[in-house]
Subunit: 411 residues, 2 copies
C-alpha cells in the first residue's frame, strides 16, 4: 500500500478514536493487549527473522534493542494496560471564561487527529506509541526502522486485530511498510494529512525533519546534558550524581555528556570523580584546565558539541557560574542540565538562566522522563520550545479548541 | 545592518527582558509609550513620506491602513500602557509535582527568547507586537512591509529610545530594514537565532513559511469561516449573526466567508438573509440548491475554498448536519465556525465534530479575538494545532521549562 493510501485510511479512521468515550478507549487498549499476548508466537517468529537478517549488519547493542522475548512482549501488553488506566486527556476543560456580553467560552482539550512517528530499531515503541496516540484520541501512522520491519508487522497485525475486536476501525493503527528514506520524507511533507510528526531518533533524522518537514513536528531526544559542579558543592554528592548521570544508561538522551567544574572545587572534586568514572570504564576528554589536575585524553574541537551516547565524558574547568551558564547556552541541545551546589543563590541563578527543558538542582539529569515526572507515560522528550517541551505525556499529544456558547451575540 | 547582525544583537539583548522583574518591564512599556507620544511629529512626517510614495501604488483601503494620525499614535501609546497592566505571564508555576523520591518538580512559564514577526502594511502592528514580546520577556525582530518602512523606522526609533531611558538594552526591539522577500526567507531559516516566527499576513506569506521555515513558526490569520444555519435555527437570529459575521468587517480573518443552510429552513431563511445582505452590497455565490430559492451568481469551483475578505458570500444548501460538518472539514482553514440552532443535540455534535480553533453556538465568528476572549491583547490568531491555537495572548508567546529541586537523588 502506498504511504498516501495509508494516510488516507488513517484520516478516514481518526474519528473512530476521537469521538469515543473514555471507557471505550480503555477497552480498546485492553483488547489490544490481549491480542498482543495471543500473537506472541507469531511475533517471536517474525522477530527471529529480523534478528537473522540483522546479524552481522548491526552491532550487539543494536541487536539487543531489536530482540523480543516473552518478557518484552508481556511488557508491551502490560504497557497498553497501564495507559488504559491513565486519565483521559481529551475533553478536559482547560479554562472557562464568561464574558460581560454573556458569551461562555471554554478552552477544551481535543485530539490532534493523525499522529505520525518515525522511530528506529526498538519494536516495543510500536505498541507504546500506538497506545499513547489512541488514548489521546488520535490515529497513528508508525514508521519504524528497516531492521524491525517483520516484528513491527506482526505487532501491528495483533494491535489491529485487537482494535477490530473492540469495535474500532483498525486503520487507527497504520504501519508504513516502506522503510526507505523516501517514505520518511513523504511523511514529513504530508500536509493536511498529518497533524503532528514526532521523529524519535538520532541527530540525522531530526536534522532531516527540520530541513524538510512542512507538517508540524516536535523534535525529540537529542541530549547534550551537563552537570555543573559549583564551588559550594558537596563533593561526594557531586560524584554520585555525575556517576549516575553518566553511567546508569549512557545510550539515552538524558545521560550526561559533559561535566563543568568550578575552579575552586576542581582540585578536590576532579580526582575523586575521575577515579570512580575510570573504574566504570568512562573515557575522559579534558579541557586544558582539567588536564592540569587529572589525566585523560585532551578534548578536541568537537567534543563539547558531541552527544557521545557512550562511556565518554567531556570535562571542563570553569572560572565561575557565569562561565558555566555561558558554556551551556553555547553547547547544550538544550535538554537537561544540573547544578550541584549548597549555595541557594547559585541554584536560583542556574534555574533561571539556563534555558533548557529540564533544569536540576542536586539531582541526576536521568530523571527527565515522563514516568519519573509522574506523567505515567512518555512519547519522547521534546527539545523544542513550541508545542511541547521536555517529557511528552498524553496532554502534550493533544491540542485544544475554544467552544463558545451564545444566545445570538454579535459584535 | 545585515539581518544576521540584527539577530545577533537581539540574542545578545534578550536577557535584558527575560530576567527583568514585572514592575521593571511595565515601567519599560510606559517609557516606550511616553517616547512614542514625544516622537509624534517625527512619526507623522515619516508616515507622510510613506503615504506619498505609496499613492498610486496601492488602493485606498491599503492607504488607509498605512495612514497614521494623532489619534492612531495615541492609540499605539495607550496600547503599550494597557499591555503594561496585564498580568505577567513569566514565572507563573503551571504545575507542581512532588515525587515519592522527594524530587520537587515545577513546570514554570518562561520567555521564548527572540520572537520574529513578519507583517504587512499597518504600522501600528510595530508597537503592538513589540509590547507583547517584551511583556512576555522576549526580544523582538520586526519585519514590516515596504510601504510602511519610514513609519516603522520612526516608531522603532521612538520605542528604542523609550527602552534605553528605562534602562533596558534597545536591541530588544530590532527592525529589519531590508523589506525584500530575501530578508523574510532569511528569518524563516535563522535556526538557533529565532525561537518563534509569527507570520501575519496573506496566504502567500503563510505558504512561504510552511515551505521554507526551519525555525518554529505559528501560522496566523487565514480564515475561511462558516456559519451553519440548522433546521431548528431562529431565522431572525441566524440573519443577524450571518449579517454581522459577513459585513461588520469583511477584511479580517474572523469574518464569515460561507453560509451553509439546512434544506428544511432554506426556503424561509435564504430570502430573509439575501434581502438584508444585498442591501449591504454583499454579492452572493450560490450552489445549485441555493440558486433554486434565491437569485445570485453561481458559485464556481474555487469559491468555497476562497478567503474573499470582501463583500462576497458563498451560500450552500446542505441535506443535514452531517453534510455541513463534512463541508467544513473539507473547506475550512480551520479558524472559526458557527452553528445557529435551537437544538441542543445538534449544537453539541457541531462543537465536538468541527475541528476548528473556535467553534460557536448562536454567536458571530467575529468574536475570535484576544480582546473579545478576555485575554487583554492579541498577537494574532493561530490556525495551527501545535504551539498555540486560536487567539494568541501573552501566555501563548511564552514557553515553559521544568525546574527540579533535589537533595542528591539519583536514578
Amino acid at each position: 500500500m502506498t504511504t498516501q493510501e495509508l494516510l488516507r485510511r488513517a484520516n478516514a479512521a481518526k474519528h473512530s478514536a476521537a469521538f469515543a468515550e473514555s471507557a471505550r478507549k480503555d477497552a480498546l487498549l485492553r483488547s489490544m493487549a490481549a491480542s498482543l499476548r495471543q500473537a506472541r508466537g507469531e511475533i517471536l517468529a517474525a522477530n527471529a527473522q529480523d534478528l537473522d537478517a540483522a546479524r552481522g549488519q548491526i552491532g550487539e547493542v543494536m541487536l539487543d534493542r531489536l530482540r523480543l522475548t516473552d518478557e518484552r512482549i508481556e511488557g508491551m501488553a502490560a504497557g497498553l494496560e497501564q495507559v488504559a488506566q491513565l486519565p483521559d486527556p481529551v475533553g478536559k476543560v482547560l479554562r472557562r471564561i464568561e464574558r460581560p456580553n454573556g458569551l461562555k467560552i471554554e478552552k477544551v482539550a481535543v485530539p490532534l487527529g493523525v499522529i505520525a512517528i518515525i522511530y528506529e530499531s526498538r519494536p516495543n515503541v510500536t505498541a507504546d506509541a500506538a497506545a499513547l496516540c489512541l488514548k489521546a484520541g488520535s490515529a497513528c501512522v508508525l514508521r519504524g526502522g528497516k531492521e524491525a520491519i517483520r516484528s513491527n508487522r506482526a505487532i501491528v497485525a495483533a494491535l489491529r486485530a485487537g482494535a477490530q475486536q473492540a469495535g474500532f476501525d483498525p486503520d487507527l493503527i497504520c504501519l508504513v511498510e516502506d522503510t526507505s528514506r523516501a517514505s520518511a520524507t513523504e511523511l514529513m511533507r504530508a500536509e493536511g494529512q498529518i497533524d503532528l510528526l514526532i521523529p524519535r531518533g538520532g541527530a540525522g533524522l531530526i536534522r532531516a525533519c527540520v530541513e524538510n518537514a512542512t507538517v508540524p513536528c516536535i523534535e525529540t531526544g537529542t541530549g547534550i546534558c551537563h552537570i555543573y559542579v559549583d564551588a559550594s558543592a558537596d563533593p561526594e554528592m557531586a560524584v554520585r550524581i555525575l556517576f549516575n548521570a553518566k553511567t546508569s544508561r549512557p545510550s539515552v538522551c538524558n545521560a550526561a555528556e559533559d561535566c563543568l567544574v568550578h575552579q575552586a572545587i576542581a582540585p578536590v572534586f576532579l580526582p575523586l570523580a575521575a577515579q570512580k568514572l575510570e573504574q566504570a570504564g568512562v573515557e575522559l576528554r579534558l579541557d586544558p584546565g582539567a588536564a592540569k589536575i587529572i589525566s585523560g585524553k585532551p578534548a578536541d574541537a568537537h567534543d563539547f558539541d558531541t552527544e557521545f551516547l557512550d562511556y565518554i565524558l567531556g570535562v571542563k574547568v570553569v572560572r565561575d557560574l557565569d562561565e558555566a551558564i555561558a558554556h551551556i547556552a553555547a553547547h547544550s541541545t538544550p535538554h537537561s542540565e544540573a547544578i550541584v551546589t549548597q549555595d541557594e543563590a547559585a541554584a536560583e541563578r542556574f534555574c533561571r538562566e539556563v534555558d533548557s527543558a529540564a533544569v536540576y538542582v542536586n539531582a541526576s539529569t536521568r530523571f527527565t522522563d515522563g514516568g519519573e515526572f509522574g506523567l505515567g507515560c512518555e512519547m519522547g522528550i521534546s527539545t523544542q520550545k513550541i508545542g511541547a517541551r521536555g517529557p511528552m505525556g498524553l496532554e502534550e499529544i493533544t491540542t485544544y479548541k475554544y467552544v463558545i456558547r451564545g444566545s445570538g451575540q454579535i459584535r
